[in-house]
C-alpha cells in the first residue's frame, strides 16, 4: 500500500470546490438586453405613416403676380342643374353614390368628432352635408376623410378626396403652385394667439419678446406667418393638428398657440386655462372650399350653392349654431369675388 490516501484528501476537496465554482461561473452571465432590437430584426411598428406633400418647385407667388386676388373664383353656374344633367366630376360623384370630403375631426366648432355621438360635426361639416344634399339629394351620403392640415392640398391633387372643407385659407401659393382651386369665400377668419391664463402677451410680438415657444400645425398659413417671427425670438414648435398643439400646451411643452380665431375658440373651449386675449388679427384668412384644379364646373356648382345658402339663411343658421356662442353675432356673409378665368 502506498502512503498516498491521507494526503490525497485536501486535493480531493480542492478539486470538488474547483468543480463547483467552475459550474457556478458558467451560469447565465448574459449581457444586458438592449433597449431596441439590433437591425437584423424585422421592424414591427405601425406608426401612422405620413403622406409626403409634394413641395412646389419654384413658387409662382414670389412675388405675387400683379392683380392676383386669391379671393377671386370662377363664376357660379346660373342655377343648380338637375341631377341627371350633371357632368364631369359631379357625374362621377353621382355615379359613385357618395361625396368624399377631406375634413378635420378635432377642430372643435368647425369640424370635430362629438365623443358622445361619434359623429363629426361643425360649421365646415354643415357645408359638406349641404353640398352632398345638393348633388345626391341626401345630406348623409358623405364619406368624411379625416385629414391633417398638411394633407389638404396633396389629397386634392392626388384625388384622394373630392373636396376639402377644413378651414382652408385661399392664397396664391395654393391657387398657382400646387395648383388647386377654391370656391367663393365662405368664412372670413384671421390669425390670433392663444396663451396661458394670466399671461400678459396679446400678440406674436409680445411672445417673441419673451422668447416663447409657440405651436402651429405643419402645412398651415399660420405656421408660415409664425416663421416670420423667428428672427424676433419666437421658437416655433409644430404638431400635426391644432389639437396636437393643445396637447403640447397642456403638457407645458409650448407657451402659446397661434392659429385662426375660429380654431383657437375651439381650443379655448376645451381648456379653461387657455385664453384668446382681445387682440387684432394679424392676418386675413379667407376660407374657401378646396377642389382639384381641373374641377372647374364643380367649383362653379358649389359657388352657386354658396350664393343660395348665404341668401336663404342656411349660412347664418349654421354660424349661429356653431360659432356665435364663442365669436359673437353673425357678421354679414363674406361677399364672393368672381371673374377668374
Amino acid at each position: 500500500m502506498s502512503r498516498m490516501p491521507p494526503t490525497r484528501l485536501p486535493l480531493w476537496a480542492a478539486g470538488t470546490t474547483l468543480l463547483l465554482s467552475l459550474a457556478a461561473c458558467g451560469a447565465g452571465g448574459y449581457a444586458q438586453t438592449p433597449l431596441s432590437p439590433t437591425p437584423t430584426a424585422a421592424a414591427t411598428t405601425s406608426a401612422a405613416p405620413t403622406t409626403a406633400a409634394p413641395t412646389p418647385a419654384a413658387s409662382k407667388c414670389n412675388p405675387v403676380p400683379a392683380g392676383f386676388n386669391p379671393l377671386q373664383t370662377y363664376d357660379p353656374l346660373p342655377s343648380l342643374p338637375a341631377s341627371g344633367a350633371l357632368t364631369g366630376r359631379l357625374a362621377e360623384i353621382r355615379a359613385r353614390g357618395y361625396l368624399i370630403a377631406g375634413v378635420s375631426a378635432d377642430t372643435l366648432l368647425m369640424g370635430a368628432r362629438n365623443p358622445l355621438t361619434g359623429q363629426i360635426e361643425g360649421f365646415d361639416i354643415d357645408l359638406v352635408h349641404e353640398i352632398a344634399k345638393a348633388i345626391l339629394g341626401d345630406a348623409a351620403k358623405v364619406q368624411l376623410v379625416v385629414i391633417t392640415a398638411g394633407q389638404r392640398q396633396s389629397f386634392l391633387v392626388n384625388r384622394t378626396v373630392d373636396i376639402v372643407v377644413r378651414n382652408m385659407t385661399m392664397n396664391c401659393a395654393r391657387w398657382l403652385d400646387w395648383p388647386i382651386a377654391f370656391s367663393a369665400e365662405y368664412y372670413h377668419s384671421g390669425q390670433k394667439v392663444l396663451v396661458r391664463k394670466g399671461s400678459t402677451a396679446t400678440s406674436l410680438d409680445d411672445l417673441a419678446a419673451a422668447k416663447a415657444k409657440v405651436c402651429a400645425p405643419t402645412g398651415t398659413t399660420s405656421l408660415a406667418k409664425l416663421q416670420e417671427f423667428v428672427a424676433k425670438g419666437v421658437v416655433p414648435v409644430t404638431a400635426d393638428t391644432h389639437t396636437g398643439c393643445l396637447l403640447h400646451f397642456q403638457q407645458a411643452k409650448v407657451d402659446a398657440i397661434t392659429g385662426d380665431d375660429t380654431v383657437l375658440a375651439g381650443l379655448a373651449t376645451q381648456d379653461p386655462y387657455a385664453v384668446v386675449p382681445a387682440q387684432t388679427a394679424i392676418t386675413a384668412e379667407p376660407y374657401g372650399v378646396g377642389f382639384n384644379s381641373e374641377d372647374k364646373v364643380f367649383v362653379q356648382y358649389v359657388n352657386r350653392l354658396l350664393e343660395t345658402m348665404k341668401a336663404d339663411g342656411r349660412w347664418k343658421a349654421s354660424y349661429d349654431r356653431w360659432l356665435a356662442p364663442s365669436l359673437g353675432d353673425a357678421p354679414t356673409p363674406p361677399a364672393a369675388v368672381y371673374g377668374r378665368q
Binding site: A14, G28, Y30, T33, L35, D106, P115, I147, T243
Partner: protein, 480 residues
C-alpha cells in the same frame, strides 16, 4: 540553486509534494539548516502543514526541500514524478469532463428558462397591443365605452404589469429593458386615462391624447419588446448549442490518455516489463470514460437539436404569429379611427397578416404538434382565415364609404373581427402553452443524463489517478 526557492515554489515541485508528501514524522536531520530564519508566510500548498513550522519551522521547511529532492532523484524519483504527472492528468480529465457535462446540464436548464422568458415577453407584447386595441376601439363608438371592453383593457394592462415583474425577477439581464418597458407602459396608461377623461367631457382633444398614446407605445415600448424577444431567443438558441459543446472533455481526455501512455512506455523501458497493471487500468478507465462522455454529449447534441428544431422553433413560430396577429388587429382599429385614411394601416395589416399566415404554414409543414389535444396547426390556420374574412368585410364596408356600418361590424359580437380574433387568440394561447411545456419536459431527460455522466467522469478520473499511482508505487517498491 538554493534549497529555499525550491521548497517555496508552488510550481510542479509543490504539486509533486502534494501527491508524494513528506512522511508524517517530524523527526529528521536538523543539521542541514541553512534556510534563513526570517518569518515565512504560512505556505498554502497542499502537502505542507503549518504545524511543522512552529519552533523548528525553518529546519522543517528545509527538510521538506531535501525530502523532495531525495524523492525525485534517481530512477525511483523519476518514477514518482511521472506517476504524479499521470495521476494529475487523470484527475484533470475527470474534473474537466465533469465540469463540461455539468455545464451542459446547466445550459439545458437555462435554455428552458430563457424560452419561458420568450413566452413571457410575448405575452406582455400581446397584452400591450391588446390593451391598445381595446382603448382605441372605445373611441370608435359614440358615448361611453363598452364596460366589457374597458374591463378587458384593465385586465390586459394588469397582466402586462404583473408579467413584467415576473420577467424581471426571472432574468436579471433583462432588468434594464424591462424597467424602461414598465415606464413606457405607465406613460401609455396615463395618456389613455387622460384621453378617457377628456372624452367623457365630450372634448375632441381626448382622441388626440389617445392617438398620441398609441403612437408613443409604438415608438417606445414596441422596440423594447422586440429587443427582449430577440435577446432571449438568441440566448435560448445559444444555450442549446452550448449544451453539446464537448471539446474540454475531448482535449482533457486525449491528453490524459497520451500522458498515461507515455508514462507506461517510459516505465516499460526502464523496468523491462511490458505491462504495469495499474497504469494500464488507468488508461483503460480514462479511455472508456472519454468514449462514454462523448457518446453522452452526442446524445445531448441530438436531443438539443430536436428540441431546438421542434419545440423551440414551434414556440417561436406560434409566439411570433400571435404578436403579428395582435399588431394586425390594432392596425385594423387604427385604420377605422383614422377615418377615411385606412390605406396605410391596411398596408401594415396585410404585412402582419402575411406574417401570421407564413408562420402558421411553417407549423403545419414542418414541426410535430405539441399544442394540446384540442388544437392543431391547421385548426389555427382556419381560425385565422375566419378573422381575415371578417376583416375583409369591414374593409369593404369602409372602402365603400359606409364608415358607420364598418364600425358597427367591427364592434359587434357576432361573426365580427372581434369574435373571430378572440377565437384565434384563445386557440393560439393554448398551443403556446402546449409547446412550452413540451420543451420543458423534453430537456429534462438530457439534463439528468448530463448530471449522471458528470459524476461518472469525475469518479473515473479519480479511479484512474488511484490506479496509476498504485502501479507506479509497485515499481518504486522494487527499488527498496
Amino acid at each position: 540553486m538554493s534549497q529555499n526557492p525550491q521548497a517555496r515554489s508552488r510550481g510542479p515541485a509543490a504539486a509533486a509534494a502534494a501527491v508524494a508528501p513528506p512522511p508524517p514524522s517530524a523527526s529528521g536531520p536538523g543539521a542541514e539548516t541553512v534556510a534563513p530564519a526570517v518569518a515565512m508566510p504560512a505556505p498554502a500548498a497542499g502537502g505542507v502543514r503549518p504545524a511543522y513550522a512552529n519552533s523548528a519551522g525553518a529546519p522543517a521547511k528545509a527538510r521538506v526541500g531535501t525530502w523532495v529532492r531525495g524523492k525525485a532523484s534517481g530512477t525511483p524519483g523519476r518514477m514518482r514524478l511521472f506517476g504524479a504527472l499521470a495521476a494529475i492528468a487523470a484527475i484533470v480529465f475527470g474534473l474537466a469532463g465533469a465540469w463540461n457535462l455539468w455545464s451542459s446540464a446547466q445550459a439545458l436548464g437555462r435554455a428552458g428558462a430563457t424560452t419561458d422568458q420568450v413566452v413571457r415577453v410575448q405575452s406582455i407584447y400581446a397584452d400591450v397591443l391588446r390593451a391598445d386595441a381595446d382603448a382605441s376601439n372605445a373611441f370608435l363608438v359614440g358615448g361611453l365605452e363598452d364596460p366589457a371592453q374597458r374591463a378587458d383593457y384593465e385586465a390586459a394592462i394588469k397582466r402586462a404589469a404583473t408579467t413584467i415583474t415576473a420577467a424581471a425577477s426571472a432574468q436579471p439581464a433583462d432588468g434594464v429593458a424591462l424597467a424602461a418597458l414598465n415606464s413606457a407602459l405607465q406613460d401609455y396608461a396615463a395618456l389613455v386615462e387622460r384621453a378617457r377623461a377628456e372624452n367623457r367631457q365630450g372634448l375632441p382633444i381626448g382622441v388626440t391624447y389617445m392617438t398620441s398614446a398609441s403612437s408613443g407605445l409604438r415608438t417606445t415600448a414596441v422596440p423594447i419588446l422586440e429587443a427582449l424577444l430577440q435577446a432571449n431567443t438568441e440566448r435560448s438558441r445559444g444555450e442549446l448549442g452550448a449544451a453539446s459543446s464537448s471539446w474540454p472533455t475531448l482535449v482533457a481526455g486525449v491528453l490524459a490518455v497520451l500522458v498515461l501512455g507515455l508514462v507506461s512506455i517510459w516505465l516499460a523501458r526502464r523496468t523491462h516489463r511490458y505491462l504495469n497493471s495499474g497504469l494500464a487500468g488507468a488508461t483503460v478507465a480514462v479511455l472508456v470514460a472519454l468514449i462514454f462522455g462523448l457518446v453522452v454529449f452526442n446524445g445531448i447534441g441530438s436531443d438539443a437539436k430536436r428540441v431546438a428544431d421542434n419545440q423551440l422553433a414551434g414556440t417561436l413560430a406560434l409566439t411570433s404569429a400571435r404578436t403579428a396577429a395582435f399588431d394586425a388587429r390594432a392596425n385594423e382599429s387604427l385604420g377605422l379611427i383614422r377615418r377615411g385614411q385606412a390605406g396605410p394601416f391596411e398596408t401594415l395589416w396585410k404585412a402582419r397578416d402575411a406574417e401570421v399566415t407564413a408562420r402558421l404554414k411553417a407549423l403545419v409543414g414542418r414541426v410535430s404538434w405539441y399544442g394540446g389535444s384540442g388544437t392543431n396547426a391547421s385548426a389555427l390556420s382556419t381560425a385565422w382565415s375566419a378573422y381575415e374574412k371578417a376583416h375583409a368585410e369591414v374593409r369593404t364596408l369602409d372602402d365603400g364609404g359606409s364608415w358607420d356600418a364598418a364600425v358597427a361590424k367591427a364592434t359587434t359580437a357576432t361573426e365580427s373581427p372581434r369574435t373571430t380574433f378572440d377565437a384565434f387568440q384563445a386557440a393560439s394561447a393554448t398551443a403556446v402553452d402546449g409547446f412550452q411545456s413540451a420543451l420543458t419536459g423534453d430537456i429534462e431527460g438530457p439534463t439528468t443524463k448530463a448530471r449522471i455522466a458528470a459524476l461518472v467522469l469525475l469518479l473515473a478520473g479519480l479511479a484512474a489517478a488511484v490506479l496509476s499511482t498504485r502501479g507506479i508505487a509497485q515499481r518504486v517498491e522494487e527499488y527498496r
